[in-house]
């Protein structure tokens, strides 16, 4: 009997990478844009210059891409758990497709193409 191999492990790497990167980096980043900039503890102009730096752009790309895949994976299985069991394949296309489109857009923006 032939079993089709699950493609699921393919999605685990960006999923678990997203879990780790989100846990490490997001609270500090939210503190910067949500509190330090509004309360003038971070200079907006130097923050703008940081976002032009290639290393920072690469970091934002990695964080965003992993976050998109992490959320896509969780959203897919949460919706299945909430009763959309029959739409499993469509949900996979929508969730992972959205993450792929988001990642491509982010790459284009990070490279200055958009």
């Amino acid at each position: 009997m032939h079993h089709q191999r699950s493609r699921e492990p393919l999605w685990w790497l960006p999923f678990s990478g997203g879990m780790m990167v989100d846990a490490l980096a997001i609270p500090a980043l939210v503190i910067v844009t949500g509190l330090l900039i509004p309360f003038a503890l971070v200079n907006p102009e130097s923050f703008r210059n940081l976002l032009i730096h290639p290393l920072v752009r690469a970091a934002v790309f990695v964080i965003a891409a992993l976050s998109f895949f992490h959320a896509a994976h969780r959203l897919k299985f949460t919706l299945i758990d909430l009763g959309l069991k029959d739409a499993k394949i469509a949900l996979g296309f929508i969730c992972y497709g959205g993450a792929i489109v988001g990642t491509l857009l982010t790459a284009a923006i990070a490279l200055g193409l958009m």
Partner: protein, 133 residues
């Protein structure tokens, strides 16, 4: 060898209500954990927008002005709450996921979680240092 028709077995799936996760605090915690990833992805998309506008001084400045509004600060505090919930529950879970064997013994749970909390502290300090320098 006689051939028998395949038995027509239908699996029974008891009906599950979409609100099943409200039944127990542990289920609610699970759902909140799932939800954190959406808030974080939304925030990541906002970072990408900031990056997209970084070479447009006027557009960037108007976003910086918008960050000072109470609505923005409130949204950031909500995201911060979800982000902290994700970080803390994830780091507390790391000893379950990562088993470090040293000879006969397993590295203690507290050591593994502690190492991750230390990494979190370092990452946070690096980001805050780079941003405020």
């Amino acid at each position: 060898m006689p051939s028998y028709p395949k038995p027509q077995v239908k699996q029974y799936h008891p009906p599950v209500k979409a609100t099943w996760w409200l039944a127990r605090p542990a289920y609610i915690k699970f759902m909140v954990r799932e939800l954190t990833s959406l808030f974080i992805a939304g925030y990541a998309a906002f970072l990408v927008v900031l990056m997209a506008k970084a070479d447009d001084v006027a557009a960037f400045q108007s976003i910086m002005d918008a960050l000072k509004t109470p609505v923005s600060i409130l949204l950031h505090l909500i995201v911060l709450g979800f982000a902290l919930f994700h970080s803390i529950t994830f780091f507390n879970l790391t000893p379950r996921v990562l088993v470090v064997q040293r000879g006969e013994d397993r590295l203690a749970d507290a050591a593994i979680a502690g190492a991750h909390y230390a990494m979190w502290l370092v990452a946070t300090l690096v980001i805050l240092f780079v941003a405020t320098r």
